[in-house]
Amino acid sequence: MAAFINILLGGVFHAAVLFLVAAGLQIVFGVQKIVNLACGSFYALGAYFGVTTVTWALKAGLPPFLFLPVLIASGVVLAVIGPVIERLLRTVYDRDESFQLLLTFALVLMFQDIMRYFWGANPQQLGNLVMVYGKVGAGGVDLPVYNVLVIAGSIAIALILGGFLQRTRYGRILRATAENRAMTEALGVDVRRINVVVFTLGTVLGTVGGAFVVPTSAASLDMAVELVVEAFAVVVIGGLGSMRGALAGALVVGLMRAAAIALYAELELLSIYLVVILVLILRPSGLFGKPAE
Amino acid sequence: MNGPGEPTKRTEDGRLLRQSADSGTVMIETRGVSKHYGPFVALADITITLKAGEMVSIVGPNGAGKTTLVNVLTGLLRTTTGQVLFKGHDIAGIGPVRLARLGMARSFQLVHIFPELTVEETIAVAEIARAGKAGRLWASVRGDDAIHARVREVAAIFGLDTKLDRPARVLSQGDKKLLDIASAFALAPEVILLDEPTSGISTGDKHGIMKTLVEAARTANVKAIILVEHDMDLVAEYSDRIIALQEGRILADLPPTQFFADPAIVAAVVGMKPVRHA
């Protein structure tokens, strides 16, 4: 039983991580209709920058238990790259979406080397800082408090984003823009501004996610290209552009993977793609997506 | 081509289209067609016929079910109940390609063109499909004189023969509309459905386009035309019969004289959406 719960929790934790990568992808696609291949790069950047900031802060005398706010702050600071990249993407808004996709592919290539330039080829990590908050558990179930925080953080982000999109005026404007850009523009909404805000939001979700998760993991050069494929799997399963879909997709992938690892480890990766293809064939718009075409 | 402004000359028997031996046979027939979207009833119990030699207009205010009916008649939608027959074949939901093969073509309300293709290429697309040459991977379009001849012929009918090598995107709005229709004609259909062929065209040019259309239909031996139109002047001018829809039901199915003689019907159709009279 304890074993089962541990494996389940492992799956939920992985789902939480995947949700953090996919959330930015979703919000940008939802409103701007751009598939951002660089979402994994933002995540990686957040991870690297988080390690550097926290390491520096600890050296400067930060009490270790305060590292989490610093980490989150470092992710938020990276919001500055959002508007810059949005400015770049703005040049291709009126083009075919393949061009938008390719521009984000160009970003993936660039970010790989930008990160290598600043952080070198060695993976970066935060030692055992993750255990500062101790662990919880009983009867063979062991869980670092930090993992609980990551899971809770993902749920919180999902709820806040959901509430923001559903309940607030600005959120409604965003959803309206997602539905019908020309109409919202005609109603006097500054769509240019919305683009900046949404893309920056998407960027911050990635960078904060990367920073948030890195204590349990490490920042490494190839994480960007590896993660984006998993994030794709998540959004395809959940439905492109849907926040609820990202949550559901992340859970499906996370739990599938945990189940595969527990039952037949050889199927770990294959199972994810098989689910993706199955979903696309049976329900091409994903679990929560709107039908395409 | 007739000059703009003058009405199209009707044939001796007062018809718009050329009459042939099979005039009067039923081309399209719907039997008790209804279409529901969940609780919403888009079409209810529509029974209409279109006979060879006829030009029939479908009118009605926005939301009356015209678009749904067009989609049903062109085999795009399955019906909830009832049948749609084209030349005796049930065409509900068969899709555009098989519809085209059976002999029905359509144009679109909003201009549908291939922006990067030239006028010549656009018409050739239809001609290739008509001639069953589409599967030829090893033939040359440029080297096929039969295709060229047909394309020129069709283009000439619509006055597009001087613009053959222009990409569709650079054409004027009127020419785009004509190209859309010309490509449909190039399929040499027996029946053609024209969905607001003059929308987005200035009032002065509308008659010109309609005249070209009827002329083309005569040249191409189109047996019957369905016209979906807002402009009551054009409807009055270019119909053998008018079918009016209201809230998914048939309000009237009458020849123009009787249709316009009934103020209640005209009010129902026109009153809901003011129509500019020329």
């Binding site: 990590q125 055992n128 993991s217 490494s220 | -």
Partner: protein, 425 residues
């Protein structure tokens, strides 16, 4: 991007030619007038980038020492550095080095996939090539039957053999159930298979209770750890070696996997400084391969290099530096031997022939190039301790083995050799 940055990239970019820096004095008469060019192909980006960077330091150290002492047979050494990526592109870089830069020798290669592909390519191009690493016995027999120009590193996973032997030596009778978590590629598969084969050879009864195969570079191993924990193994054998290793160790530690479980990690040396004391236990079998930087009886050369490396990178080197140093010194020994025999500048074939059997004192200790073009080196593994001045564990007990005990003899089949070999514990 401002000009300053662009310039910085250009200078930092080690691609290009690192010229000989020392004044050239007293050239022997037979020396040709241009420096010896050595092409290096090593990974810089991606998962193995960190390995390549460490190896490169070994090469640079070797070249600085060689050039300071007058070069190889009187000729200075200059490097042309290219990046190892996928097999296709790496072979194109090999061609560029050989055909365009006309290098005299190629060294490098970390990934086994690239090394398998490059072997035949280098042979067919008659390019003298010395691998740092990256060979496994898989496929080696058919692609590289009798290499003439290619020299390989130790050819089966010596570290897996050694770790297995240490498990038998130290823990025999102390475990019944074993589990493995190994990277999902040939290296990981071979390590795991070799370990089990050796346990069988020494008559140890065991049951495999879990096998995990995370893809290289997986950075969330929570579920894997949970699955391992559920299987309750007495011992875990793992050849994880990239960024995933510290992640695994930290996750295992926080999940309580370490209590009551023994760890044997033959390839952990690649990540030795990233495996912090807080989550890496004492008492695990830990492989440092051919260079253990903190060896109490280390020779002066190693001490000098460790200081050199620490000075440059603020880190401590792992075995790739030793492999790279060994490759360069083996080349030097071969050239000088051939040159002395001929008393004129030798051909590539003569150098290759001369390299057979040369002995080299590498950073980690003595080594030799076997006649079948496979390296012999000294291996270090041992049992971890926290009693040191670092924030990561080092070895409390150091076992040293020469690879003639760990790798199959020329021409043998690895698995047959394991069954029949007379191995002293």
């Amino acid at each position: 991007m401002d000009l300053g940055r662009r310039k910085a990239i250009k200078t930092i970019g080690t691609a290009g030619v690192v010229a000989a820096t020392l004044p050239i004095l007293g050239f022997p008469a037979i020396a040709q007038n241009r420096p010896l060019r050595v092409g290096i192909i090593a990974p810089k980006a991606g998962i193995a980038g960190t390995i390549g960077e460490c190896g490169l330091q070994g090469t640079l150290f070797a070249v600085e020492k060689i050039n300071a002492a007058g070069g190889i047979a009187g000729r200075m050494v200059e490097l042309v550095i290219e990046e190892e990526t996928n097999p296709k592109d790496s072979i194109e870089r090999l061609r560029k080095l050989v055909l365009q830069d006309k290098v005299d020798c190629v060294q490098g290669i970390v990934s086994s996939g690239v090394s398998l592909a490059m072997g035949p390519a280098a042979e067919e191009m008659k390019a003298l090539t010395i691998y740092w690493d990256g060979t496994t016995q898989d496929g080696v027999d058919e692609t590289m039957a009798k290499p003439r120009y290619v020299f390989r590193s130790t050819d089966n996973e010596c570290e897996a053999v050694m770790a297995s032997l240490l498990v038998v030596k130290h823990w025999k009778g102390k475990f019944k159930t074993i589990a493995g978590i190994n990277p999902d590629y040939s290296y990981g598969r071979n390590n795991w298979a070799a370990f089990q084969a050796l346990l069988k050879k020494f008559g140890i009864e065991f049951t495999v209770v879990a096998e995990q195969w995370p893809k290289v570079g997986t950075l969330d191993l929570t579920s894997h750890v949970a699955a391992l924990k559920a299987a309750k193994p007495d011992m875990i054998f793992s050849s994880l070696l990239f960024a995933d290793l510290p992640v695994f160790m930290r996750t295992a530690h926080s999940a309580g996997l370490m209590e009551g479980t023994r760890f044997a990690f033959p390839a952990a040396g690649f990540q030795h400084t990233a495996l912090k004391k807080e989550f890496t236990p004492e008492g695990m079998i830990f492989g440092h391969n051919t260079l253990y930087f903190d060896h109490p009886q280390a020779n002066a050369l190693q001490k000098e290099f460790v200081a050199y490396y620490h000075n440059k990178t603020k880190d401590y080197p792992h075995w790739e530096a030793d492999r790279a140093y060994f490759a360069m010194q083996a080349y030097k020994a071969g050239v000088e031997k051939a040159q002395k025999a001929k008393n004129a500048w030798p051909s590539i074939e003569e150098i290759a022939a001369a390299m057979e059997g040369v002995k080299v004192d590498s950073l980690g200790g003595p080594g030799r190039m076997r006649e079948d073009h496979i390296a012999e080196q000294t291996f270090y593994q041992g049992i971890t301790t926290h009693k040191n001045k670092y924030d990561f564990p080092t070895l409390g007990v150091v076992d040293t083995m020469y690879s003639d005990q760990l790798q199959k003899p020329p021409g043998a089949n690895f698995w047959k050799w394991i069954e029949t070999a007379q191995i002293k514990l």
